[in-house]
């Protein structure tokens, strides 16, 4: 029989893994909610940010938890510039073109990484990689705990930006009423770029949280984005609380299903839940009814 001694740690571990999923999903859902496109470059940007964190550590000797304060603004700028100067102009205002441009972009980024760094898998060695906190009945891995706290800090920061700043209000306005926003003097191209920048900054943060315990190769980000996409649909397309909660749920589901079905089948549970939720609530947990 499964005792709580096994079940509770699995649950906690699931929550902590789910936090990183939530961050990746947060970026994806933000971009979807405003630009109404699935950002196919999300995975490639995550990979690129993981490489950035890898080299910040190996070349400059900066710990990923410090590097995040450089890499996330840097990736905000990269995301902003990509949308403003590449994706936006190349799509001529057509949403479906935007989708294709992000797809093209992901191919370019992945191949550039492959060309530059080959397919080798790389890891970094940080002293705290295997540190744990003793809770008495179980141990918590420190890097996962950091990730868990980080996702709430990021979600809170995003919420504050969205509700208290003019650019945040403008982002929400553009999401639902582009024409009205233009007439209020809001520069839609700028708002799109800021949103894409914020989404990209989210994956950069996720990358820095992952690097201490994970590996990077030119396609490392893809696995996360596939799960993140599931979370975005599950939580409701464009919903920030949906992404956070959905991320945690999926983390737990994955952890419990590896416990019951074995490691290799861990992700099967995700897709079972995914299908089950969509059957009952097609708009997702937090999505508005169509």
């Amino acid at each position: 029989m499964l005792s709580p001694v096994i079940l509770i740690p699995a649950l906690l571990n699931g929550l902590l893994t789910g936090a990183v999923y939530a961050l990746v999903a947060l970026g994806l859902t933000l971009i979807y909610g405003v630009l109404h496109i699935i950002n196919f470059a999300h995975g490639a940007l995550l990979t690129a940010a993981m490489f950035a964190a890898y080299f910040a550590f190996t070349v400059l000797g900066i710990d990923p938890y410090l590097a995040v304060f450089i890499i996330s603004p840097l990736f905000f700028a990269i995301g902003y510039a990509l949308q403003r100067f590449v994706i936006g102009p190349a799509s001529h205002g057509e949403d479906r073109n935007m989708l294709l441009v992000t797809l093209g972009l992901s191919v370019v980024i992945e191949n550039a990484l492959l060309f530059g760094f080959r397919a080798d898998t790389r890891t970094i060695d940080v002293p705290y990689a295997f540190s744990t906190i003793d809770l008495g009945f179980t141990y918590l891995a420190v890097p996962r705990l950091v990730g868990f706290v980080a996702v709430f800090v990021v979600a809170l920061a995003l919420w504050l930006i969205m509700s208290l700043t003019d650019i945040g209000r403008a982002i929400r306005a553009v999401a639902k009423e582009k024409f009205g926003a233009q007439l209020a003097g809001i520069d839609v191209a700028h708002v799109y770029a800021v949103t894409f920048g914020l989404g990209t900054a989210c994956v950069a943060i996720a990358a820095c949280l992952l690097m201490p315990t994970y590996y990077v190769n030119p396609s490392a980000g893809n696995a996360f984005v596939l799960v993140a996409f599931t979370i975005v649909v599950l939580g409701g397309m464009g919903s920030v609380p949906g992404a956070v909660l959905g991320g945690l749920v999926i983390g737990v589901v994955e952890s419990l299903s590896s416990l019951f079905l074995g490691d290799s089948l861990g992700q099967v549970g995700i897709f079972l839940i995914f299908i089950a939720v969509l059957l009952v609530r097609p708009q997702g947990l937090f999505g508005a009814k169509a």
């Binding site: 209000r169 306005a173 639902k176 024409f179 009205g180 007439l183 209020a184 003097g185 809001i186 520069d187």
Partner: protein, 238 residues
């Protein structure tokens, strides 16, 4: 009333892709005037408004606002100049509170005076004050129209374009609306009014233009236009 020209449009041409909607428009609005543009459905009144506010690109011609050529400017720059367009169909932000909607009205202009202007809007529309935290999408149609106008006023317009503001309002509210237009005008704001309520519009306006087939078929003082038999023929189709 001063005679300073606020808006001067010369030989303006605009449309969508291949189809030309405006085929050489000449229009002026002087400071402190109410000018109304009338015309049947689909004739291009809203297109004219969209071209003035930079949403639709002018294909030819000139638009001068307070002496500056604005026909190549983008909407944010035009809004910053004080040419404010309250569009047909309200276009408020349904997912934002009444307060956030108003605050975004001062996104590009008059931001330092946001708080006092918001109070001013609430004085004009007390119903908005009662609903300050409500999502705009849950307001009634009439309240949404008040919000749309309020959002426009937040930018301290020099010229306020109102595109069919009475659409979908009850007769009583239409009365109120026209009283309000006079009130805004009395504060020194010039108004370009596009309306289906021909009679009321001609009553409040100083001058009027009748748009037909991409050009102004008729223009003159509101009183003259109201008396012109041509109005009934070209506009009302009688």
């Amino acid at each position: 009333m001063t005679t300073e020209t606020l808006l001067a449009v010369e030989n303006l041409r605009a449309g969508y892709g291949e189809s030309e909607v405006l085929r050489g428009i000449d229009l002026t609005v002087k400071a402190g005037e109410i000018v109304t543009v009338l015309g049947s459905n689909g004739v291009g009144k809203s297109t004219l408004n969209r071209t003035l506010s930079g949403i639709v690109r002018a294909q030819a011609g000139r638009i001068r606002f307070e002496g500056a050529a604005i026909e190549r400017e983008k909407p944010p720059a035009i809004v910053a100049r004080g040419l404010i367009h309250v569009p047909e169909g309200r276009r408020i932000f349904p997912n934002l509170s009444v307060r956030d909607n108003l605050d975004l009205g001062s996104y590009a202009r008059a931001k330092p005076r946001r708080t006092q202007n918001r109070e001013r809007v609430f004085d004009i529309f007390p119903r908005l004050r009662e609903r300050v935290a409500q999502y705009a999408g849950t307001l009634s149609g009439g309240e949404q129209q008040m919000l749309a106008i309020g959002r426009g006023l937040m930018a301290e317009p020099r010229l306020l374009i109102l595109d069919e503001p009475s659409l979908g309002l009850s007769p009583l509210l239409v009365e109120e609306l026209f009283a309000l237009i006079m009130k805004i005008h009395a504060e020194g704001v010039a108004i370009l009014l596009v309306e289906q309520n021909v009679v009321e519009s001609l009553e409040v306006a100083d001058r009027a233009y009748i748009l037909a087939e991409g050009q102004f078929a008729l223009s003159g003082t509101a009183a003259d236009i109201a008396a012109d038999p041509e109005l009934k023929r070209t506009y009302l189709g009688l």
